[in-house]
């Protein structure tokens, strides 16, 4: 009942504010300006969850070299340059990847859930992802990963520009960040994603009574601040956004509480995807520090375990195998959800310290982990296994200093935009081509029984 009351209130507020106060600006959200969502096209949308590992994740200890092949003695190089931090291959989850010894890799022992998904043919590993003219700055490199445009400067994010192209309908929460600071990735030139710290923080402190709602109505009316004073105008617009956000989310039940902030964030992401809110993209920055300049072993494993547990809760609804009471990710959502795990850079090949404090300094290329729907769902679907080449690592006597780019991150983004999100016009500068083979194309359609039936379907 509270929802109905609030909806009526909001619609009433829209009429009043629209007539008297609110300048005719186009605002996303704003449920009171549009109609309730029942568009089947939005629930059929493919979804993308981008998990960001802040600080620069050590890709080499995430997807680990576990074999030597002629001309590429990766495991030998790895053990030589990482006497303290290197894993013996016996402790890794084996990524056999067929008979091809060149592809011998292992998965970090803390990534049990990722390995479980790998065994289900749901994991793709894109190797050597970076961009030209690599920057070793956290902030510059992070901006480039968010923007997906190393040449253009960070004026907008790659998902934000997607939002510009597809638009955001009134009342729709198409792209959401989990946190308090809207990430560059979700900022378009015209459209902006939304962001929420958590579902439980997405309520006003004074609730939903008549007295509170009278205040919220006035809060939304701050959007009438004149446009000339840009920052104050923006502040007023955000006040209205806040009212719209609370209106959209107040009926979404908060997820099961968790002591891990990552698990909580992943469960929030999951709740957003499972509600009929029109969500297409969710951005989840792991609340962790991957900048392991020292004492790497313990910190990195703790971070990966935290990530893995977040994925376990997200996909399977369990914590260390025990049910969280949420059940697995709803099948109709799992069938259309892609998870992509990225960081601003990998780390240097060699470790930097001695004895127990060893760490690694800022590096360059790193693998991107992608997790797709269970096999058997709709096409195109994520093609499991390795994509792109492993960056050269030199020889044990002359190891490389760094891992260079073998896959341009723009080609990865292009593939996701084109084949997964079905972006109508994912144009990049310089004609960047989509990474081939990342998504399996649909099989040829079965021959229709009659030509008329096929025509009718179109």
């Amino acid at each position: 009942m509270a929802g109905l009351t609030r909806r009526q209130f909001i619609v009433g507020a829209g009429g009043l504010a629209g007539a008297q106060l609110v300048a005719p600006v186009v605002v996303r959200g704003g449920a009171w300006l549009g109609q309730a969502m029942a568009d089947p096209a939005t629930s059929a949308r493919r979804r993308l969850v981008v998990v960001f590992l802040p600080g620069g994740n050590d890709g080499l200890n995430t997807v680990v070299p576990a074999g030597d092949v002629p001309g590429a003695p990766r495991y030998s190089v790895y053990r030589r340059v990482r006497p303290m931090l290197g894993y013996d291959r016996s402790v890794l989850f084996p990524l056999g990847l067929g008979a091809d010894a060149q592809q011998q890799l292992g998965l970090n022992p803390k990534l049990a859930t990722v390995y479980r998904l790998y065994a289900q043919q749901r994991v793709a590993i894109v190797q050597g992802v970076d961009y030209p003219h690599h920057s070793y700055s956290h902030f510059t490199s992070s901006d480039i990963w968010h923007a997906g445009a190393p040449d253009n400067g960070p004026d907008s994010g790659w998902i934000g520009r997607h939002l510009d192209r597809v638009g955001i309908a009134d009342g729709e929460l198409r792209a959401v960040g989990v946190g308090t600071d809207l990430p560059l990735m979700l900022r378009g030139r015209d459209q902006l994603g939304a962001e929420i710290a958590s579902l439980s923080a997405s309520h006003f402190a004074d609730g939903f009574g008549v007295a509170a709602e009278a205040r919220h109505r006035s809060l939304a009316a701050f959007a009438a601040y004149p446009a000339g004073d840009a920052l104050r105008h923006a502040a007023g617009a955000q006040a209205r956004e806040a009212v719209a956000l609370v209106d959209r989310l107040h009926r979404a039940a908060p997820p099961t509480p968790s002591s891990s902030r990552m698990t909580a964030a992943m469960l929030t992401a999951r709740t957003l995807l499972e509600q009929d809110l029109g969500v297409e993209v969710v951005y989840v920055p792991q609340p962790a520090a991957y900048d392991t300049h020292s004492l790497q072993r313990g910190h990195h494993e703790m971070n990966l375990q935290d990530l893995d547990q977040g994925l376990e809760a997200f996909f399977f609804g369990t914590a260390a195998g025990k049910p969280l009471g949420t059940g697995p990710l709803a099948a109709n959502v799992a069938d259309r959800t892609l998870v992509m795990i990225v960081s601003e850079f990998g780390r240097r090949i060699g470790e930097n310290g001695s004895s127990g404090v060893a760490g690694t300094d800022h590096g360059a290329a790193a693998p991107v982990l992608m997790i797709g729907p269970p096999p058997g769902g709709a096409f195109p679907r994520l093609a499991p296994g390795l994509h792109g080449d492993h960056p050269p690592m030199g020889t044990p006597l002359a190891p490389a200093d760094n891992l260079g780019m073998t896959t341009d991150l723009r080609s990865l983004y292009q593939a996701v935009l084109t084949h997964w999100l079905r972006d109508p016009d994912p144009i990049w500068g310089k004609g960047m081509k989509a990474l081939p083979g990342l998504f399996a194309p649909p099989p040829p359609p079965p021959a229709p029984p009659k030509k008329k039936a096929a025509a009718a379907r179109r």
Binding site: Y136, A194, A214, R232, A235, N352
Partner: protein, 447 residues
């Protein structure tokens, strides 16, 4: 520049940006007084070492010594911000905490060491930037936070050296240093550790790289414990350095400049402040005086109005000043954190978001919640000490009470609309509502 008397709006803006907000008494005292006199009043801060300890310094030193809860230190600082007779000093301390962002993180960086670092920032807050920078280079919390303690001659760690150039001195617009400078400077900084029992930093010659280094074109030979000062001076000698620090001052205290390139096309206020910094050999008071007196700071007319957004800590402290309630309530740090700013725990070495990135839809929900928290705190406060609240419909009184000159037409209309909708409700309910709305209004949040 700087002439003429201050308008009420200018007093509100100056206090709002650099002094945690005006009280009604501040507005009354300085409106129509010479603007320049107000600026000099704010700058009249005796050097910390030459004045008597403040009453709350006893509590501070006790918090520095012991293993205290993070929230106790956060509360202490909020209350210091509210009560200090030198708000500009505390405001700059907050700015340097953002600039040299160091986060308490168990077990690597103890909160009490970050708290101590903040006092180091305070002692230098209005002093000389070169001294401030040099103190930070060997600060225990910084050595732990950016891995100075793990950096040795045999195995230098680049973390601090990179951020020293990128975030603390030169920036990247344009980038005036190379990867080689980072690696060479990392060698210079080796040798500093933190004594585990005393929590003090110490130079250990055997951990230092005694070789010759080249940093920014300067040859640096073994100088032991004071060798790092050569990197400080080499960095500050770059033309971009004063511009970059000026950019940070303008961004923190006035507005986010439209242009990030500080060399070829600097913002005009950035250029002015940088010129003073250079002329004064990195003394901060003259630079801040230039900043506060500049037309770019004073003028907010026209479509290109450049303004500052109150950060969450400023939101809390300004409100407490306005209502005359204590800011060290145990619940406040959590609410300030929900608005996006956990003191002593910046999100990363780059500090907090700037400008309008403080204003997202979700932080607006938290800011609205702050109004409710603040009103509850006012209700609990002794009637003899707290400020009286205006009648609900006295919007001019609310503006004064909250430290701004007036409310805009659109904001007044919106609040009047609320009062009309709740006509006949209890005064307490209406006061709580008006307070929450004023504190989330564009007029108050953006100064």
């Amino acid at each position: 520049m700087g002439g003429s008397n201050a308008t009420r709006e200018e007093v509100a803006r100056l206090y709002g940006r650099v002094a945690f907000g005006a009280t009604a008494a501040d507005l009354d005292a300085w409106s129509h007084a010479p603007y320049e006199a107000l600026v000099d009043h704010l700058l009249a801060v005796p050097m910390p070492d030459s004045r008597r300890a403040a009453v709350d310094d006893v509590k501070r030193t006790s918090l520095e010594r012991n293993q205290n809860a993070l929230s106790d230190m956060q509360s202490w600082w909020l209350e210091r911000m509210r009560t200090t007779p030198y708000p500009l000093e505390e405001r700059l301390t907050l700015l340097w905490h953002d600039h040299f962002a160091t986060a308490a993180r168990t077990p690597d960086v103890n909160a009490n060491l970050v708290f101590k670092q903040i006092h180091t920032l305070r002692r230098n807050a209005l002093g000389n930037f070169r001294n401030l920078l040099a103190d930070v280079c060997t600060d225990p919390a910084m050595l732990l936070w950016l891995n100075g303690v793990q950096s040795t001659g045999a195995r230098p760690n680049e973390n601090f050296a990179r951020e020293f150039f990128e975030l603390f001195t030169l920036g990247t617009h344009p980038q005036a240093y190379t990867e080689a400078d980072v690696r060479q400077a990392a060698r210079v900084f080796t040798g500093w550790t933190v004594d585990a029992s005393s929590g003090k930093s110490a130079f250990v010659a055997s951990r230092h790289d005694a070789g010759t280094k080249q940093v920014l074109g300067v040859t640096i030979t073994n100088g032991g414990a004071s060798e790092f000062v050569h990197v400080v001076d080499a960095a500050l000698a770059q033309r971009v350095a004063a511009r970059f620090i000026a950019y940070k001052l303008v961004t923190g205290l006035a507005y986010v400049p439209a242009t990030t390139d500080v060399l070829s096309s600097p913002d005009s206020l950035v250029a002015k402040v940088a010129a003073t910094l250079q002329a004064s050999k990195w003394e901060l008071k003259p630079a801040l005086r230039t900043l506060m007196l500049a037309d770019e700071f004073r003028s907010t007319n026209g479509a290109d109005a450049r303004r500052a957004v109150r950060s969450p800590a400023e939101v809390a402290v300004s409100t407490c000043k306005a209502l005359k309630v204590a800011a060290d309530d145990a619940t406040f740090p959590g609410v300030v954190g929900a608005m996006g700013q956990q003191l002593l725990v910046p999100p990363n070495v780059g500090g907090w978001p700037k400008g309008k990135r403080w204003l997202s839809s979700s932080t607006l929900v938290a800011r609205y919640g702050w109004g409710t928290t603040a009103y509850a705190s006012w209700q609990k406060a002794p009637a003899t000490t707290r400020a009286g609240l205006p009648a609900p419909a006295d919007l001019a009184g609310w503006a004064s009470r909250c430290g701004i000159s007036s409310l805009s037409r659109s904001t007044s209309d919106a609040i009047s609309q609320y009062l009309a909708a709740r006509r006949g409700a209890a005064v307490e309910e209406l006061q709580a509502g008006v307070l929450a709305l004023v504190l989330t209004s564009p007029d108050w949040m953006v100064v």
